[in-house]
């Protein structure tokens, strides 16, 4: 049993124990969850410290680390076909930072759930199941295994939103579930197509191994997704392009991109605070990770072909999300739309196909991970107290809750890309990469970079406007005295949750090498894989 298996299944174990707890001991579920997640964080810390950043990973199994490969399902189909599904895990520079991020955000979410009273056991068991699935997605190197974890993520989220959510929780939960399922169902078709196209060079059997899928030599001569002499078309579109597009749409729904983003504001607004934290902090990153590892890793030729469109979608998401955020009156919805805008940078960075851009995109994912977690948590702080989060119902919070205001101001300025905080590094490198694209020859025009930088300007506009409207000026609340007494300043528990996230934002802003160093080799490998098709 390797480190990664422990990392993945530790929370599942905790969930099983929770379910066995008697009703009288239901309160201890949260301690179990906390212990499991803390254990995971320690483990990821260990993995991070012992990670060899000279190893690239991506398409070479030997340079993956903490690899575990067991044959899982072997099924003889017909005379000469062998179904080969492996339990295959490993880490490289793309997955390691996301693993650490997931552990941190999960811990924050557990902290934010401390006061849950409605069916505590079920709640924490579902959180732990989600935790297992998330870790599995980031570690899996077998496409079948990846898909299993990917689908398992949906189930706990559906119930977490649908049971513990707000007023329109059923609507939001169903919308979220069906939207994501829509993408992943088609993804399954592509997975099967890839399976029939790729053979394991060692055994000759068809395989779900992602690393084999990245090697053009493993594709059958005239197989459906084959590289050379591929005449397969669907509606006149080459098969490989269709495969790429379907996988991209599946992950893009998760990111989310405009116009496939409308599940996100609803899910966020209805979800309880901890689920919002996980949704924004981890789930969206699965999309970006999938695009990098799978869409670009397996279809680098198509990525090189269509990166102009990816960049366009990225810029549209940035600007459209930012303008929509500007129009919001509900603070949580504003932050949800700002997520759309900030995740647009991830897509723009990926589309540049330059080391700067992709590194920036990865950095932006990490940074947005705990910053959005902190932002949603901060919204939860006032919502918990007065069950309202309409921007116009609050004024002058700075005089009333000074400590809270300091946290909000730091989180806002960090999110709007103030240097010294992590978001700046991510966004700046996406922009630099986008400008560099023309020089390197990956074909992203410079107006896209300029469009992206206007998004940076707009993020300052909506965050500062919110600060001005809610926090500054003379104190005045819609709920009057009643609210004034309810709105006490942040508690110790809340501060303990916020400190690490904001500290990480500063630490990574000052020492970006903490992320760039393990990342660098992998990104360079990925770029070199793509650049041979430019």
């Amino acid at each position: 049993m390797g480190f990664l298996s422990i990392l993945i299944f530790l929370p599942l174990l905790a969930a099983l124990v929770m379910l066995l707890l008697p009703k009288s001991a239901a309160g201890s579920a949260k301690y179990l969850a906390l212990a499991a997640t803390a254990g995971q964080l320690l483990l990821t810390g260990y993995l991070y410290v012992h990670f060899d950043s000279a190893q690239a990973g991506i398409n070479d199994v030997n340079s993956f680390q903490y690899v575990e490969q067991l044959s899982w399902i072997r099924l003889q189909i017909g005379a000469d076909k062998l179904l080969e599904i492996d339990y295959f895990l490993g880490l490289d520079g793309l997955s390691l930072p996301l693993i650490v991020l997931s552990a941190v955000v999960m811990l924050m979410a557990i902290g934010a759930s401390w006061n849950v009273t409605k069916s505590v056991k079920g709640y924490f068991a579902l959180l732990m199941l989600l935790n297992t699935a998330v870790m599995g997605v980031f570690c899996a190197l077998d496409f079948f295994l990846f898909y299993v974890f990917y689908e398992v993520m949906l189930l706990p989220l559906y119930f977490l939103i649908g049971i513990w959510g707000g007023v329109r929780r059923e609507y939001a939960a169903v919308k979220f579930f069906i939207y994501t399922l829509l993408g992943s169902v088609f993804m399954l078709l592509v997975i099967v197509g890839l399976y029939f196209s790729v053979t394991n060079p060692a055994t000759g059997a068809n395989t779900f191994n992602m690393l084999h899928m990245m090697n053009p030599a493993n594709y059958g001569e005239e197989s459906f997704f084959g590289w050379v002499r591929n005449f397969h078309e669907i509606f006149g579109i080459p098969a490989r392009l269709i495969g790429f597009a379907i996988l991209f749409i599946a992950f893009a729904i998760k990111v989310p991109i405009v116009p496939l983003h409308t599940w996100l504001p609803d899910a966020h607004v209805e979800a309880p605070t901890p689920v919002s934290i996980i949704l924004a902090g981890i789930l969206l990153k699965v999309g970006g990770y999938g695009i990098l590892r799978i869409c670009i890793g397996i279809f680098p030729d198509m990525a090189a072909l269509s990166n102009w469109w990816l960049g366009l979608i990225g810029v549209i998401s940035i600007l459209y999300g930012a303008f929509n955020a500007l129009a919001q009156k509900d603070l949580k919805r504003l932050i949800a739309y700002s997520s759309v805008s900030h995740m647009g940078f991830v897509l723009l960075g990926i589309a540049t196909l330059t080391t700067e851009g992709i590194s920036g995109a990865m950095f932006q994912m990490i940074s947005h991970g705990f910053l959005s977690a902190a932002l949603f948590f901060l919204v939860g702080v006032i919502y918990d107290r007065v069950h309202d989060r309409d921007i116009y119902n609050f004024r002058g919070l700075a005089s009333h809750m000074p400590r809270y205001t300091v946290f909000v101001a730091i989180a806002f300025f960090a999110s709007l890309g103030l240097p010294g905080f992590s978001a700046f590094i991510g966004e700046a490198f996406v922009i630099i990469g986008a400008f560099n694209s023309e020089s390197v020859g990956t074909g992203l025009p410079r107006w896209m970079a300029v469009g992206g930088s206007i998004g940076i300007l707009l993020s300052a506009v909506y965050f500062l406007w919110t600060l001005q409207r809610m926090f500054f000026g003379q104190t005045r609340f819609k709920g009057g005295e009643e609210w004034a007494t309810a709105l006490n300043d942040v508690t110790m528990r809340e501060q303990i949750i916020l400190y690490p996230a904001l500290a990480l934002a500063i630490i990574l802003g000052i020492m970006p090498s903490l992320v760039f160093t393990p990342l660098n080799e992998s990104v360079m490998r990925l770029v070199s894989v793509v650049s041979s098709f430019l």
């Binding site: 069906i178 500007l326 920036g360 103030l418 020089s439 500062l464 406007w465 000026g473 090498s513 760039f516």
Partner: protein
């Protein structure tokens, strides 16, 4: 002795910026418990000492020194962080220290008793740290980091009184307008990185570096023009150049001590500093744009300054106008003159603001709280020279320096710009002469508006107090006028040049020698100062006649005065055109998102549900109906046949006979 005190300039320079950082962190951790600001003061005091003795003197006129450490690596490029010390950077660092120190001392009295004073000290230290680091950063990315951080500190300080609506509107405006510039700076960085592969200043612009040789060759390329424009946009926002100047007058909502340090002397000059740093990037056309924008800024701002009634607004527009002078100097290629003016301007403008602060302080104390009178409005002042003689003298010195009278530092630096502008224009001839002529005109206007301010504030009779013997007014306390006196001293000529009429001898100009593209014209060095002095003197004389002797020739509030006072309605224009349209656009897009994009999603859901209902209907009524039809049919058939078996023999016989009959009929008819 010197050996004992030998500290490497790099370490000393690092210490210069770490002292305020340490002070900031200390004050951030102590929070409300630290009201005195002694730590902040100590930090800047140590910084000033270190900067003067261990950085400036060892480096000035010596070979530049640089130290770098790798910061992070992306791809094959390693981004470094480091310190570059050359004449320009050590001068800027020392200047910031020397201005910040008296402002700190002054603030201890000026801000005393403010409930948020712990925040004030914290923000001030943060600003000092960022600004000092900005001066010595050795690469553009690092410079950008501190560039935005000074903007952030300025945001915090403008909105220091955050319960005041005007203050929080102003700080938002300042940050957003500066953000536009920051985007420009960032785009410039990205372009330079994409084409030159490095952001290190000495690799780019070091005289020995191979890249530096190639830069002039690239001047014809289009990206170079864009990059130059992008950097200039960055400088325009920070240095409040037209049309991005709108944030600076509003920024006067901050405490006056802050206005003096940040929005007059140091931060706003950072744009000029940036232009001087990346100067080799600018090609001819960009330089011309820079000169034109600078001229427009100088002219419009001095025009707006003529009609302002708020004492701080007059000074704010005067700052913008003087920044315009510096930008023109960069545009004509004489960035050393720009830096010279930056330095002299820092002292006298800081002093002007501190004097204004002293006056506002006294006004605010003298006005009863119930009377809703604006303590900053010059219409409420008058005759103050009898009550505040030190402030009066110091403010007059600073005003003379601003107006460019001989024996002041302003005379030296302003003349150097105007003369260079003439030399530059004469070489090009024709319409280029408009620029220096406008500068001369602006100099006259400057003399007039600052004279107007002095006369309105210090001469005439007090407006609010009929009894002249009233003793509500005092001289500013010692803690305030001593730092002011120090700045007053620095506004005089001998600090910069022992020759009071020649700027060429100024040590500062000799430290920043550069080859300009135009020939010096000796006659101008005689002629220009005389014109400027005469014009300025006329300006003061007019001011005296109009405002002291009361011979004001125009109607009060005529259209031009209104126009100037409202700043040519530029703010209203921005509000109605840009801000509103952005908001409408965002609301429109949200409507689109809510009703069209999400509507499509919900529509798809509804269609799916409708299809479901239809198929359920089909299933129930057609498919199942068919099944039921079959069942019903057989049931009815059975039902019909059932009465055949009713147990009556006759019926059975009749039935059998009928069937036989049918059989026979069939056989017969076949």
């Amino acid at each position: 002795m010197m050996n004992l005190l030998h500290i490497s300039p790099i370490h000393a320079s690092l210490a210069v910026l770490l002292f305020p950082l340490a002070a900031f962190l200390y004050q951030a951790l102590r929070g409300k418990q630290d009201q005195s600001g002694i730590v902040g003061l100590l930090g800047i005091l140590l910084s000033t000492a270190a900067s003067a003795f261990f950085v400036f003197f060892p480096i000035w006129q010596q070979t530049p020194v640089e130290a770098t450490a790798s910061w992070f690596t992306v791809g094959k490029h390693t981004f470094s962080a480091g310190i570059l010390l050359n004449n320009l950077t050590v001068l800027m660092q020392l200047l910031v220290c020397i201005i910040a120190l008296p402002v700190h001392i002054y603030s201890r009295v000026y801000m005393k008793g403010d409930p948020g004073i712990h925040r004030y000290w914290m923000y001030l230290s943060l600003f000092c740290f960022a600004m000092l680091a900005l001066c010595v950063a050795n690469n553009l990315l690092l410079m950008y980091v501190f560039w935005e951080l000074v903007g952030f500190a300025s945001y915090l300080l403008i909105g220091f009184w955050f319960t005041k609506d005007a203050a929080v509107q102003a700080n938002k405006k300042a940050f957003i307008v500066n953000r536009i510039g920051d985007i420009g700076f960032l785009i410039g960085i990205a372009l330079v990185y994409a084409h030159m592969g490095t952001l290190n200043l000495s690799e780019l612009f070091g005289k020995q570096s191979p890249l530096f040789e190639q830069i002039p060759l690239w001047h014809t390329e289009r990206w170079m023009t864009y990059a130059g424009l992008a950097f200039f946009v960055g400088a325009m926002a920070k240095s409040a150049q037209f049309p991005f100047h709108v944030w600076l007058p509003d920024a006067m909502e901050g405490p006056t001590s802050v206005s003096s340090l940040i929005h007059a002397a140091t931060m706003v000059a950072a744009g000029v500093f940036l232009l001087a740093t990346v100067f080799p990037l600018f090609n001819e056309s960009i330089l011309l744009v820079i000169a034109i924008i600078g001229t427009i800024t100088a002219l419009t701002a001095s025009y707006f300054a003529l009609a302002q009634q708020d004492i701080k607004k007059v000074l704010a527009f005067s700052t913008i106008s003087q920044l315009g002078f510096m930008v023109v100097a960069v545009g004509i290629g004489a960035w050393n003159a720009a830096i010279f003016h930056l330095v002299t301007h820092a002292f006298f403008k800081c002093l002007l603001f501190l004097c204004a602060g002293a006056i506002i302080h006294e006004m605010a104390h003298a006005i009863p709280a119930a009377a809703k009178v604006d303590p900053q409005d010059m219409r409420n002042m008058g005759g103050l020279r009898r009550f505040m003689p030190y402030t009066f003298i110091l403010m007059v010195i600073a005003s003379l320096a601003l107006a460019g009278f001989p024996l002041t530092s302003g005379f030296l630096s302003k003349d150097s710009i105007v003369i260079a502008a003439f030399e530059w224009a004469v070489e090009r001839g024709g319409t280029y002469l408009i620029i220096p002529i406008v500068l001369v005109l602006v100099s006259f206007l400057t003399a007039f508006y600052i004279g107007r301010m002095i006369f309105k504030v210090f001469f005439g009779k007090p407006k609010l107090w009929s009894d002249e013997k009233v003793t509500v007014f005092h001289e500013a306390p010692k803690g305030m006028w001593i730092p002011m006196a120090f700045l007053g001293l620095c506004s005089l000529f001998f600090v910069f040049s022992f020759n009071p009429i020649s700027h060429q001898n100024a040590a500062l100009m000799q430290g920043l020698t550069l080859l300009t593209g135009f020939q010096p014209i000796d006659s101008l060095h005689m002629f220009i100062p005389i014109v400027l002095i005469t014009g300025s003197a006329i300006g003061w004389w007019l001011g005296y006649r109009w405002y002291v002797q009361g011979k004001y020739p125009f109607q009060e509030n005529n259209a031009w005065v209104q126009h100037a006072q409202k700043q040519a309605y530029i703010n209203e224009f921005y509000q109605f055109i840009i801000v509103r349209s952005t908001l409408y656009l965002s609301r429109g897009l949200y409507w689109f998102d809510h009703y069209i994009v999400d509507g499509l999603t919900n529509g798809a859901a509804s269609v799916t549900r409708a299809v479901g209902r239809v198929s359920a209907w089909v299933d129930r009524n057609l498919v199942d109906g068919l099944v039921n039809l079959v069942a019903q049919t057989s049931y009815y058939a059975g039902h019909l046949l059932r009465w055949v078996q009713n147990g009556r023999l006759q019926n059975y016989m009749g039935f059998a006979f009928t069937m036989v009959l049918f059989g026979i009929l069939y056989l017969v008819l076949r």
